[in-house]
Symmetry: C2
Subunit: 207 residues, 2 copies
């Protein structure tokens, strides 16, 4: 930082690229994330990033990977080890708020086809998946029938809430309101069953 850095080599261009990419993403949305812009921000020639990333998609996947890790941290910060539905709800709120605070990042993480050939990205995504599954199972230990299905359902619920909020389909102007809506939605779904009667016919017809 202090020295004028009259050196030819950058030092850690690989990391600088994802940092620059992340900044561009948050400043100007997904359209602002171009390899050339990344190179400019890293004060490096347009072709330099290709030494570290095979193509644009590879860089995007690297960004998505750190996004998954930061999301995981964020969820853990909301509650270290939730074991009740209400603790789980706090994690859900954190999930949605992450999406709203970093919309472009969230969209690159989930809004485009995942490059399955990128091991780092796949691993980071799988880690989030596993983490969600764990805490749901801990929060609903009595789900005798199909714990996996329940975990899927809850994740989908929260994930869907995040996307719908992101698209402005539900208009919740401020973070507190969003939090209220999320809890209200979860609450509503959890109470609907008992009052609305158990759906008896909800069985597979495809076996």
């Amino acid at each position: 930082m202090s020295a004028p850095k009259a050196t030819y080599h950058h030092g850690d261009l690989r990391a600088a690229c994802v940092r620059a990419a992340m900044e561009l993403l948050e400043e100007g949305g997904e359209t602002a994330l171009s390899l050339r812009a990344v190179a400019r921000r890293a004060r490096v020639s347009p072709a330099a990033p290709y030494r570290h990333y095979a193509d644009r998609q590879a860089l995007v996947s690297a960004v998505a990977a750190v996004g998954y890790r930061e999301l995981a941290e964020r969820l853990a910060a909301a509650h270290p080890s939730p074991s009740t539905p209400e603790q789980l709800a706090r994690v859900a709120i954190a999930y949605v708020q992450f999406a709203l605070e970093r919309p472009a990042l969230f969209r690159t993480m989930f809004g485009e086809p995942c490059d399955r050939h990128n091991d780092e990205r796949a691993a980071a995504a799988a880690a989030v998946s596993l983490y969600v599954r764990e805490i749901v199972e801990r929060s609903f230990p009595h789900a005798d029938a199909d714990a996996d299905a329940l975990a899927t359902a809850i994740w989908a619920l929260v994930h869907g809430l995040a996307f719908l909020h992101l698209d402005g389909k539900l208009d919740a102007p401020t973070p507190p309101v969003v939090a209220d809506r999320v809890t209200a939605a979860i609450q509503a779904l959890l109470t609907a069953t008992s009052t609305g009667g158990r759906p008896a016919g909800l069985r597979s017809r495809h076996r």
Copy 2:
């Protein structure tokens, strides 16, 4: 098709553009959808589409708008007027299958920031939103407390299932399996409450 079409004007370039765009989207994904490619497919000069669409985003929004309408048709086809949870589940399956059959279209509809200045798109999206809200309310008439929250929750659940399946986060290889997973997830969520106990602390802390 028969006549060599030696005419200068196209006839209905506006409609031809969205048709071509839709084809490109389904053939080659979102990256294949360029204005030039659309023009090529419509056998027209690269600048011609600009007579009908201000910019690329406008065309994309038009495509998204017909996507919303086709989704609505698809949901209605699954069940014309669902009024029970199990009928609603069939609509949910149709929603997810639409996403899986036309992934690129679904992603342009929901995976990128919605252009709020495009009235047609906004209206079509709002229509879907309203439709979903209606059928959920009809299927759960006893949701005394917050019918709106319940509708939001169910939509989010299905929407999330669609996206997670789309990203391969849940691996369901064939449409029948997807259908089973969707019903299982809904089923699991609806039964979890009664067995897992009512979450007493699920109240807003932000008032």
